[in-house]
């Protein structure tokens, strides 16, 4: 997997590069948007991470350059602005996803994974250790025992299972599970994680849901 990162702030660019490389991506860095279109055309990237505020050429123009040459390249926009209008403008300009600085590396890689998986067939049965989720029949079993989940708990478990072994940030979880923009003010995620733990981890071994301090939660059968 090869990712093009266009980010003028060298420190931000450098940690994105290191973080993504640790996850096995090949990363190319550009510090301004001028050559982005050409480079995206010349090299067959799997995804691009694009900062909106670039010196010289704005991120929107760079996005247009890329779209003019390569229509299908998934582009994730990074920006320091979080105004709704900016988000809408970014997505309208052809971006596939949007992230506000500062962000967690875990979230960046989760979003990239989602972009890369797009179009791929979704598995109908998800499994980690002896936990099993049948997404067609909406049944959850652990060690062969059927477990009853409330709708929110089910949605929470599904996203954790789809990103198994990868930590998910609370922001990402909220975005996918709740139709409310909770704005991180409430501990609704913690509460649902706790009730989920009570149902799928209590009385079973090993515990599958782990808290990754400073990042979020991960579902994994190997302790971090």
């Amino acid at each position: 997997m090869r990712v093009l990162v266009i980010e003028d702030d060298r420190k931000v660019a450098s940690f994105i590069q290191t973080g993504l490389e640790q996850e096995g991506y090949a990363v190319d860095l550009l510090h301004d948007g001028e050559p982005a279109g050409d480079q995206a055309h010349a090299i067959d990237y799997d995804a691009a991470v694009l900062d909106l505020m670039l010196p010289g050429r704005s991120g929107f123009q760079v996005l247009r350059d890329i779209r003019a040459r390569k229509v299908s390249l998934p582009v994730l926009i990074l920006t320091a602005k979080d105004a709704l209008e900016e988000r809408v403008a970014g997505l309208d300009a052809g971006a596939d996803d949007y992230m506000t600085k500062p962000f967690a590396l875990a979230e960046l890689s989760a979003r990239l994974r989602a972009l890369l998986r797009r179009g791929a067939p979704r598995e109908s049965v998800l499994r980690v250790a002896d936990l099993e989720m049948d997404t067609i029949r909406r049944k959850v079993r652990r060690a062969g025992m059927s477990i009853e989940l409330k709708p929110k708990e089910y949605a929470l478990l599904e996203i954790l299972l789809r990103h198994a072994d990868r930590p998910l940030t609370k922001a990402l979880i909220i975005e996918h599970v709740w139709d409310i923009h909770f704005d991180s003010i409430s501990n609704v995620v913690e509460v649902h994680i706790n009730s989920l733990r009570n149902k799928i981890d209590k009385g079973f071994d090993p515990p599958l849901i782990h808290t990754v301090r400073g990042v979020g939660y991960v579902l994994s059968d190997t302790p971090s």
């Binding site: 931000v12 973080g19 320091a80 500062p102 400073g214 990042v215």
Partner: protein
């Protein structure tokens, strides 16, 4: 009690008119009485002088001789002889007395006559005919007799005229005062009308409409000067707010990029193979702090943008009852974790026009706060009702409550009640400011009633959706 400018103007002008009218009344009364008195004194002198000419003495008696065919003479004598008497100046003997005076039986002793003779001045006496004024004059007749003549006139017509004038003043001054006050009230309204127009126009200007200016009337009067000065202030304010808006946008970028770098590097460090659990723990703690800082920046910027008018709300029918029910449903586990009974008691279906997302946020902030500040086994109740064209949302908790001083400033930015009673999870004190802003954007209000240690009730009122079809409760 504060008095309006108009009331004060009217009061001052009425008091001034009152003083002026009273002074004028007193002065005119004084002048009138002096004039009447002078006229009377002159008439008395004329009567006395004239009567001397008509007096004839015959030994011990005196008589009046005049030409009765001369009507002028007859009228004069008739007037002069109504009250008159003459004494022999030497003996004090009464020589003649008019019938009118005789009826009053005012006899002067010889000693009195001597006193009159020594100082022949006018004098006044009170009788049953009213006050009379007498002249005293001493003359010597053709036959060499010295006599004292006293001629009287009635003061009653003068007194009556003065009394009538005084009565006139006593009712006309208050009436004039009332008229003056009413006129001042009307005039002041006329005079202050441009001022109240300016006030109305100025009230419509808020931080989102700073580009507006108040109209001057172009007459260059004092009011135009005030309006010009106010417009100048608006101009400077508009400039300052513009800079503030640019600053808040710049702040977002300037703070977020270094925070992103910081957070990313810490996250990388924590991932580094070989780092000890203690090191990872420290990194995690740093990331939590950065996340907190980020949330704070987000909230400040949201509020700054909201107050700078950069956030436009949409308007669509929103079912407030459904909104509350679904929100309470979603937050219920959170309350249950603290053994708090979170219930929704929407008695009525309520529709409002508004922005679903922001209304959700308003309710979320209130309910989240209520749960946060309520101890275990407490209660939080959300009620949605309607009355008189107003939708009413109440969030009542049995939490720590607010003192009345705290309740007054609960909606101020960065307000946090006594930290000793606030849970550590409390935010930066911006949530309620946002609630107030959202309510105001929907032409609504938010208030709080609270008692320490008993709980708080936050009440939001919003205008009901107009022409909403009646919904079954």
């Amino acid at each position: 009690m504060t008095l309006t400018l108009r009331t004060r103007l009217v009061a001052i002008s009425t008091i001034a008119s009152g003083l002026l009218l009273t002074a004028l009344g007193v002065a005119s009364y004084d002048v009138l009485s002096r004039h009447l008195d002078a006229d009377l004194a002159q008439r008395l002198a004329e009567l006395t002088d004239g009567l001397h000419g008509y007096l004839h003495f015959d030994d011990d008696t005196a008589s009046i001789a005049f030409d009765a065919s001369d009507t002028d003479q007859a009228a004069f004598v008739h007037e002069a002889t109504r009250y008159y008497r003459a004494y022999d100046a030497a003996t004090g003997r009464l020589l003649v007395e008019s019938g009118g005076l005789a009826a009053l039986a005012l006899h002067a002793t010889p000693r009195d006559v001597q006193a009159f003779r020594a100082a022949p001045k006018p004098f006044e006496i009170s009788t049953r005919y009213g006050r009379l004024r007498f002249s005293n004059s001493v003359r010597t007749s053709a036959d060499g007799r010295t006599y004292l003549l006293q001629v009287g006139v009635a003061l009653e017509p003068m007194d009556a005229a003065l009394a009538r004038y005084r009565d006139l003043l006593l009712w006309s001054v208050p009436v004039a005062l009332l008229v003056a006050g009413a006129a001042a009230w009307w005039l002041s309204e006329f005079a202050l009308l441009p001022l109240s127009r300016v006030a109305v126009a100025a009230q419509e200007i808020d931080v989102q409409t700073l580009e507006r200016r108040l109209p001057t009337r172009g007459v260059g009067d004092e009011l135009d000067q005030v309006v010009d000065a106010f417009n100048g202030t608006l101009c400077r304010l508009e400039h300052a707010v513009g800079e503030m808006r640019q600053f808040s946008a710049a702040l977002a970028h300037e703070l977020r990029t270094p925070l992103a770098a910081l957070r990313g590097e810490i996250e990388l460090t924590s991932r580094t193979f070989g780092s000890s659990p203690a090191q990872r723990d420290r990194c995690a703690s740093q990331m939590e702090e950065i996340d907190r800082l980020t949330r704070l920046i987000d909230q400040i910027l949201t509020l700054a943008r909201a107050e700078a008018g950069q956030i436009r709300l949409t308007r669509a029918p929103v079912n407030l009852t459904e909104l509350a029910v679904s929100l309470v449903e979603q937050l219920e586990p959170m309350a249950a974790a603290k053994s708090i009974d979170l219930r929704c008691e929407p008695l009525q279906a309520v529709m409002v026009d508004g922005d679903f997302g922001w209304l959700q946020r308003l309710l979320l902030n209130l309910v989240d706060n209520a749960v946060k500040f309520t101890r275990e086994h407490g209660h939080v109740v959300v009620r949605v009702t309607r009355e008189d064209g107003t939708a009413r949302v109440e969030v009542q908790d049995t939490g720590v409550g607010l003192s009345s001083a705290d309740a007054r400033q609960a909606f101020e930015r960065f307000f946090r009640a006594d930290p000793a009673r606030s849970p550590s999870t409390a935010g930066a004190g911006l949530g309620l400011s946002l609630v107030r802003w959202i309510a105001a954007q929907h032409r609504g209000t938010v208030t709080v009633q609270s008692r320490l240690a008993e709980g708080s009730t936050f009440t939001v009122t919003l205008p009901l959706r107009r022409d909403a079809p009646a919904l079954a409760g």
